[in-house]
Amino acid sequence: MADFEPKIIGFICKWCTSAGADLAGTSRMTYPPNMIPITVFCSSRIDPQYILWAFKNGADGVFVSGCHPNDCHYQDGNYKTMKRIPILKNLLKDLGVESERLRLEWISASEADKFKKTITEFTETIKKLGPLYIKK
C-alpha cells in the first residue's frame, strides 16, 4: 500500500481556485501531483453526476473548489455548490464510497498556500483510505 498513488480529479473554478493554483505555481510551492485539474467557469457548473462519473471511472478522490461564499464571480453560484455537495456526500455513503473521498473547499485567487495545503492533505487522506473499489 505504501506505493499506492491515488487518482484524484479536481473540479476547480476558473476565477478563484484555478487562479489560486496558478499562484501556487508562480510561488513555486510543491504538492503531490495526483490531482488532475479540470477547470470550469464556476463551481455551480459541477453537476454532481460528474463526481459520480469520476468515481465510476477510477477516481479514488474528487476535489471540488470555488470562490469563498459572497465572492462568487457569478453572484451566488458557490452557494448552489455549497448545498449540492453535502447532499451528494450523504448519498456516497449509501453507495459504499467513504464521504471523505469527496472534498469541498473555498480557495481564493490569493490563497496559494491554502491550495497547496489542501491538496497535500487530501492526497494523504486518500492514500490512507486506499484505492476505491466499486462493484461494476
Binding site: 480529479i9 484555478s18 501531483p33 488532475i36 457548473r45 460528474y50
Partner: protein
C-alpha cells in the same frame, strides 16, 4: 456525439527550463503520439514567441488542422495570444485550448517522472475538450450610443459632461426641480475653503447649455428593462404646474404667493412659498408649484400666481407625464442623504431645535441660507457663543445606527468649526470625536489649522444631549482623562452618518446589488470600482459609499470613461461560451430559471402551442453553467462545457 473526427494538433512548450526542467517534454510528445489519435504533436522551446506561433500556423496549414491544444503556461497568460494566432489561419479561436502544464504541473512538482505523467494526463483532458468543442462566434449586440445619468449632483453632472464631451448624447435626470445636488447646499469646501456654489454653478450651466445633454429635472425613473447596450427607460416627469417653455424664472409669482411651507433646500430652517425656485442659481432657472402646499389645490381658491404671471406660464391642469426612451448605458449617481436625526434617541430625536445636522449648519453658513450667512441658531436667531460639534453621530455605531465611517465628517466638522470661528470671533467651538481621520491631500494640515485656530477637540463619545432653559446640555466622556464631561452649549451640530438615498425597491428594480446598508456594490472592490455586476450600469459618486467631492468627481469621470469605451463601437461582443437548450429534451420544468443569476432564461410556449420550453436570452447569459448542472434531463448545456465533454475529460484524466 461527434459528426466527424476532428483534426487536432498538439503543441507542447518547453518554456525554456520552466516546463522542460521537470517535465520530460520529448517523452510527453512520444506518449501522446502513442496513446491518442491526434494528427500532430510537436514541441517547441517557446511557443508564445513569434517562431513558436509561426510553427503553429504553418502546421495548421500543412496538416489542415481544425483544432489546437497548446500545452504551456496558464490560460490567463497566453490563451488570447494563441487564439488570435490560430484565427489568423482560419481556425475558430474557440477550438484552441490551453493545457496548463506550468503553473499547475511543472512548477509545483519535484519528481520528474510524476510531473511528466501529470502533464500527459492534463494534456489528454484538454484534447478531449477540443474534440467536443464547437466553433463559436462572439455574439454581437447592437449598442444604443446614448447614456442616461440618474442623479444630477456634482457626480452626475461630471459624468454627463464627460460623456457629452466625447460626443454622445446624455440624458441627465434629477428628482428635484434643479440640478446641483447636495454640493449646491454647501457653504465652503474643505480643505481649500473654496466657495461651493462658485465652483459648482459653472458646471451646472455648462451641463444645461451642452448640445449633447438633455436635462430632465423633477423627474423619476419608473421602469428600466433591457440589457447592456439596449435599455428601455420609462421616466415620470412630475407635474410642475408651470409651463417651463413660457416661464422665465422672473420670480414675480413667488412674491405674490401667500402660502408658506418648509424650505427643503434650507433643510427646513426657513420657509419658501408654495410656488418656488429651489435656490437663486437653480438650473433650469424655473419655478414649480408644490401641490400639497398650494392653496388653490388644497382649498380651491387663490390662483394669485396665475393672475400675476406676465407670461401666462402657470398651468394648473398640468399632469404627470411618462417619457420613454432607449439608452445603451446608465450611470447611477444617486448620492446620499444624512441619517434621520430621529434615529438618534439619546441626541434628542431631532426634536431639539438647536441640535442640527451638518447640512443644516452648511445652510446657516451659506450666504444664501436662512440667516444670510450669519451664524445664528434656529430657535431664536441668537448668535451662538458656544457650539458643540459631535462627530460620528450614527457612524461607527453598530449598536444604534451604522457601523461604517462616513469618511467626510472629520474634515467638514473641522471646516465648520473654522468657519464658525471666522464669523463669530469670540465663539467657542468644541468637537467631540472618536478619532480624527485625515487621510487625504491637505487634510492633516487642515486639521492642524483647526486646532491652531483654537478649536477644542475632546476625544470621546457624547452620551446624551438635552435642553436646559435655552441652553443645550451635552454629556460626554473624555476618554483621554477618563472623566465625564458636561458642556453647556448654545447649539449642537451633529455630523450625522451618510446614508444612501436610494430605496431597496429602486435597487431591486434596477437589479443592482446593495450592501447591507444600501450602498451600491461595485463589480470588484479593488479592480472594478465603477462598474456593477449588471452589465451597462456604472457607479458615480456617493451612491457606492461615502465620498468627498474630489473622490466623487474622479469616480464619475471613471464611470464616464467606461461608458465612452462601451460606445466606442456600435456593436458589443459577448462571450459565446454560454448556455444552450436542447429543445427536444426540455420539459419546461423551469428549474433552471430560478437557478440563473442573470435572468437569462425564460419560459416560452413552443410553436405547437402546447409544450413549454426554456429559451436562453443569449446577451444576458454570462456562462456560469449553473443551469446545466441543475437541469434534471440534460437539456440545458453550456457550450464547450457540455456534459459528455466533461465526462470524457474526466475519463481521460483517469486513464
Amino acid at each position: 456525439m461527434r459528426s466527424k473526427p476532428k483534426r487536432i494538433g498538439v503543441f507542447v512548450c518547453h518554456c525554456g527550463i520552466n516546463i522542460a526542467g521537470t517535465v520530460n517534454v520529448p517523452e510527453v510528445v512520444k506518449r501522446l503520439k502513442e496513446t491518442t489519435d491526434v494528427i500532430e504533436v510537436i514541441d517547441h522551446q517557446y511557443c508564445c514567441s513569434d517562431p513558436g506561433q509561426n510553427l503553429i500556423k504553418e502546421t495548421i496549414k500543412q496538416k489542415n488542422l481544425d483544432s489546437v491544444v497548446v500545452a504551456c503556461c496558464s490560460p490567463t497568460l497566453h490563451e488570447n495570444t494563441f487564439r488570435k494566432a490560430v484565427a489568423s489561419v482560419g481556425v475558430n479561436p474557440y477550438n484552441c485550448e490551453i493545457a496548463n502544464i506550468r503553473e499547475q504541473c511543472s512548477w509545483v512538482t519535484e519528481d520528474k517522472e510524476k510531473a511528466t505523467e501529470k502533464a500527459v494526463r492534463i494534456i489528454k483532458t484538454i484534447i478531449k475538450k477540443v474534440e467536443y468543442d464547437e466553433p463559436l462566434t462572439p455574439i454581437s449586440i447592437p449598442v444604443t450610443r446614448k447614456a442616461m445619468v440618474i442623479g444630477a449632483g456634482v457626480a452626475g453632472i461630471q459624468a454627463a459632461l464627460d460623456i457629452a464631451n466625447a460626443g454622445y448624447p446624455v440624458i441627465l435626470l434629477d428628482k428635484n426641480p434643479s440640478i446641483g445636488g447636495h454640493m449646491s447646499q454647501l457653504s465652503e469646501t474643505f480643505p481649500t475653503l473654496d466657495c461651493s456654489q462658485c465652483i459648482l454653478t459653472p458646471k451646472m450651466v455648462e451641463a444645461k447649455q451642452h448640445p449633447n445633454i438633455t436635462l430632465l429635472t423633477y423627474a423619476e425613473v419608473e421602469e428600466i428593462s433591457g440589457y447592456i447596450g439596449n435599455f428601455k427607460v420609462k421616466v415620470r416627469q412630475k407635474a410642475k404646474y408651470v409651463d417651463w417653455d413660457k416661464c422665465t424664472g422672473c420670480d414675480i409669482c413667488v412674491g405674490k404667493c401667500p402660502k408658506k411651507a418648509k424650505d427643503e433646500f434650507n433643510q427646513g430652517l426657513s420657509e419658501r412659498k408654495a410656488i418656488y425656485k429651489m435656490f437663486p442659481q437653480a438650473v433650469p432657472n424655473r419655478v414649480v408649484i408644490h401641490r400639497e402646499n398650494c392653496l388653490y389645490f388644497q382649498k380651491g381658491a387663490c390662483r394669485l400666481c396665475e393672475k400675476n404671471c406676465p407670461f401666462g406660464a402657470v398651468k394648473f391642469d398640468d399632469q404627470d407625464q411618462f417619457i420613454e426612451f432607449d439608452v445603451g448605458a446608465i450611470v447611477l449617481a444617486t448620492g446620499y442623504e444624512l441619517l434621520d436625526k430621529k434615529m438618534l434617541g439619546s441626541y434628542g430625536f431631532g426634536k431639539l431645535k438647536n441640535v442640527i445636522d451638518g447640512l443644516q449648519f452648511e445652510r446657516i453658513l451659506s450666504a444664501s441660507g436662512p440667516f444670510m450667512g450669519e451664524v445664528r441658531r434656529p430657535s431664536d436667531g441668537k448668535v451662538p457663543e458656544r457650539i458643540v460639534f459631535v462627530q460620528c453621530a450614527g457612524s461607527r455605531d453598530p449598536e444604534n445606527a451604522m457601523a461604517y465611517c462616513s469618511k467626510i465628517c472629520c474634515m467638514y466638522t473641522a471646516k465648520q468649526a473654522i468657519l464658525y470661528k471666522h464669523r463669530v470671533h469670540n465663539g467657542e467651538a468644541i468637537i467631540f470625536y472618536i478619532d480624527v481621520r485625515t487621510g487625504g491631500k491637505g487634510f492633516e494640515e487642515f486639521y492642524k489649522r483647526a486646532t491652531d485656530e483654537g478649536v477644542l477637540y475632546i476625544r470621546g463619545k457624547v452620551s446624551k444631549i438635552f435642553e436646559k432653559g435655552d441652553k443645550v446640555i451635552v454629556w460626554g466622556a473624555d476618554t483621554l482623562t477618563g472623566k465625564k464631561v458636561e458642556v453647556e452649549a448654545d447649539m449642537v451640530v451633529l455630523a450625522t452618518a451618510m446614508v444612501p438615498s436610494v430605496t431597496k425597491e429602486f435597487a431591486q428594480m434596477l437589479k443592482i446589488t446593495q450592501d447591507e446598508y444600501g450602498w451600491f456594490t461595485e463589480a470588484h472592490p479593488k479592480l472594478r470600482p465603477v462598474e456593477t455586476l449588471a452589465g451597462g450600469f456604472f457607479l458615480a459618486g456617493a451612491c457606492q459609499g461615502p465620498k468627498d467631492i474630489p473622490d466623487a468627481v474622479a469616480q464619475s469621470s471613471g464611470a464616464a470613461s467606461k461608458v465612452i469605451a462601451l460606445f466606442a463601437s456600435d456593436m458589443l461582443e459577448h462571450l459565446p461560451v454560454i448556455a444552450d437548450v436542447n429543445e427536444d429534451l426540455c420539459s419546461g420544468c423551469a428549474v433552471c430559471i430560478d437557478v440563473c443569476p442573470y435572468k437569462a432564461r425564460e419560459l416560452v410556449i413552443a410553436e405547437d402551442g402546447k409544450k413549454r420550453k426554456v429559451k436562453v436570452i443569449e446577451v444576458l447569459c454570462e456562462g456560469c453553467g449553473a443551469c446545466s448542472a441543475a437541469c434534471p434531463v440534460g437539456a440545458a448545456q453550456q457550450k464547450n462545457f457540455k456534459d459528455e465533454q466533461i465526462q470524457e475529460m474526466v475519463k481521460a484524466g483517469l486513464e
